[in-house]
């Protein structure tokens, strides 16, 4: 739209004009992070890169990924920039704009969810707002599930597509159903039926107790992490990030095989061994899920700020409480 980026037009040198035009720009530079990014982004862009794929980039895009300028980036190799939502500003806003890996910008632009101009609160309640988070194929979801159960992969699980919410939501629902069904089957199998008076009755309290707890975990923990990390230390550039919700949901994926193993081992093992085996697989599943989460959040954890440590401790504690509740309340 504009003929030239800001500042290219030099007004005629007149006494009245000369000092005033520089001052507002400087003040903007100091106080408005978003404007800084936008202005200088344009200026340095036009100098270096003649790639036409960037010509249709959106003008109101405040997202800059500056993961590459960190000094210890070498040991992580080539991390493809699959996600847009975590932009961790390392307190050096002006340095972050001179981005050496410019050819990844096009990929990042392509993967980014569209920014809607209308910013009312009601848009969060429509189906259309969330459609972009369901834009995955069956193949991608299956591969993400497998990788989240066995977190020994390079890079991130979101390398093959966009951040999705389908996986997390259905993993949480399947976890609830698995706890109910497999827990009851295990109870049925290990029921001591020698006593004629006591008849086997099914136990629906597992369902009624586990659904609120797990759903609360799934909703509140990422919200807490989002708000916590947003206000302290690590800065996100102004959007609600569903990536944390997605990561947290995929981390529950390792509990489902654990509960299946629990049910499958119920007829096989004697009682005492079964008890310790149950603790073993629950803790193994918890450990795998925490490992997966930390692997995905490697970007955030490189900030060794105190708040990040507190957040990590809260997540670990949450998982511990979940494991204890599973053992004692849901599956007994």
């Amino acid at each position: 739209m504009a003929d030239s980026p800001l500042g290219a037009y030099q007004p005629p040198v007149v006494e009245a004009n000369r000092p005033r035009e520089q001052v507002p720009k400087k003040e903007d530079d100091e106080f408005n992070l978003l404007d800084i990014d936008f202005n200088n982004y344009d200026q340095s862009e036009s100098d270096v890169n003649l790639d036409s794929s960037l010509s249709d980039k959106k003008q109101d895009n405040p997202v800059i990924a500056d993961e590459d300028i960190q000094p210890d980036n070498g040991k992580f190799g080539d991390r493809p920039h699959g996600d847009q939502e975590e932009d961790i500003n390392m307190n050096q806003p002006s340095d972050s704009l001179i981005n050496p890996n410019r050819q990844n910008m096009a990929d990042m632009e392509a993967n980014e969810p569209k920014i809607v101009e209308n910013r009312s609160l009601l848009r969060y309640f429509t189906v259309e707002y969330y459609k972009e988070y369901f834009d995955v194929t069956t193949q991608e979801v299956v591969s993400r599930l497998i990788r989240s159960c066995i977190p020994l992969y390079p890079g991130s699980i979101y390398d093959n597509g966009k951040v999705d919410l389908y996986g997390p939501i259905w993993i949480v629902i399947s976890l609830n159903i698995a706890i109910t069904i497999f827990g009851n089957i295990a109870r049925y199998v290990s029921f001591d039926s020698k006593d004629e008076d006591v008849k086997y009755t099914s136990h629906l309290e597992g369902l009624v107790k586990s659904v609120p707890v797990i759903t609360l975990y799934f909703v509140c923990m990422p919200a807490f992490l989002n708000i916590f990390l947003n206000f302290t230390g690590v800065q996100y550039v102004g959007k609600i990030t569903f990536k944390l919700v997605s990561i947290y949901g995929y981390s529950f994926a390792s509990f489902i095989p654990a509960i299946f193993l629990y049910m499958a081992s119920a007829p096989v093992l004697p009682h005492k061994a079964f008890n310790s085996f149950e603790w073993l697989i629950l803790f193994a599943a918890g450990f795998i899920s925490l490992f997966f989460m930390f692997k995905e959040m490697v970007q955030v954890l490189r900030n060794n700020i105190e708040e990040v440590k507190v957040a990590a401790a809260v997540v670990c504690l949450g998982h511990l409480i979940l494991i204890l509740m599973m053992k004692w309340k849901f599956l007994s």
Partner: protein
């Protein structure tokens, strides 16, 4: 009071549909769209006898059931038929299922079973329908709920059979009966749900349906 014209008498007795024109009978095979506009306006359910209305609604439900239950090769017929969605069938089936399960469930709390099944049927149908829409499906919310409700029919039959005849039979036979019902339900509803999304996302749209019927089947076996 005795001055009513003869035509009005006829109308009151025979219902508004028999006013000398050709009978614009409601053909459930084609749905409401087949009626011409003025016939639709004259299709006044207030002036016809109650059993006519009930018979027509029951016929509608029955036709939908046969369309959904018997696998048909012409998917377009199915789609056209089910576009005329109604929620009576799902409600009746859901109530029957919940009642059967709450009578025959092997827990100490029958009412809890009724509550859970009822809520799961409606909430589950809603969630699966929203999931289909989020994945980019081009079907409306109520049509999905309608289809999922009608596909509960085999599970309702299995629950009824379970309650009446199979209480004291080997567990294995109950598993087989419920398994057959589960496969029948899933097959007939997956065929409908999967055609409304792109082929890459078929598994994603079908998995929640499978989960929904699995949970209800487990309840029957409870």
């Amino acid at each position: 009071m005795t001055d009513y014209p003869k035509e009005l008498d006829q109308k009151i007795v025979l219902g508004n549909t028999n006013t000398g024109r050709s009978n614009p009978s409601y053909d459930p095979e084609k749905g409401r769209e087949s009626l011409a506009k003025e016939e639709q306006e004259k299709f006044d359910t207030l002036t016809e006898p109650v059993c006519e209305t009930i018979k027509r609604d029951l016929l509608m439900i029955w036709v939908k059931l046969t369309y959904v239950m018997v696998p048909r090769t012409m998917i377009k017929e199915k789609a056209k038929q089910l576009r005329d969605w109604d929620l009576w069938g799902p409600l009746v089936l859901c109530l029957l299922l919940s009642l059967c399960l709450s009578f025959s469930a092997n827990t100490d709390d029958g009412t809890l079973v009724f509550q859970i099944v009822f809520i799961i049927v409606w909430a589950g149908a809603a969630i699966v329908a929203i999931n289909g829409q989020l994945l980019g499906g081009n079907i409306s919310f109520f049509q999905s709920v309608c289809v999922l409700g009608y596909c509960l029919f085999p599970l309702t039959v299995a629950a009824f059979v379970n309650m009446m005849f199979l209480q004291f039979v080997y567990f294995f036979i109950r598993v087989i009966v419920v398994g057959v019902a589960f496969i029948w339900s899933s097959y007939s509803s997956v065929g409908f749900i999967a055609e409304m999304v792109v082929p890459e996302k078929k598994g994603l749209a079908a998995f929640p349906v499978f989960l929904f019927y699995l949970f209800l089947s487990w309840f029957i076996l409870l």
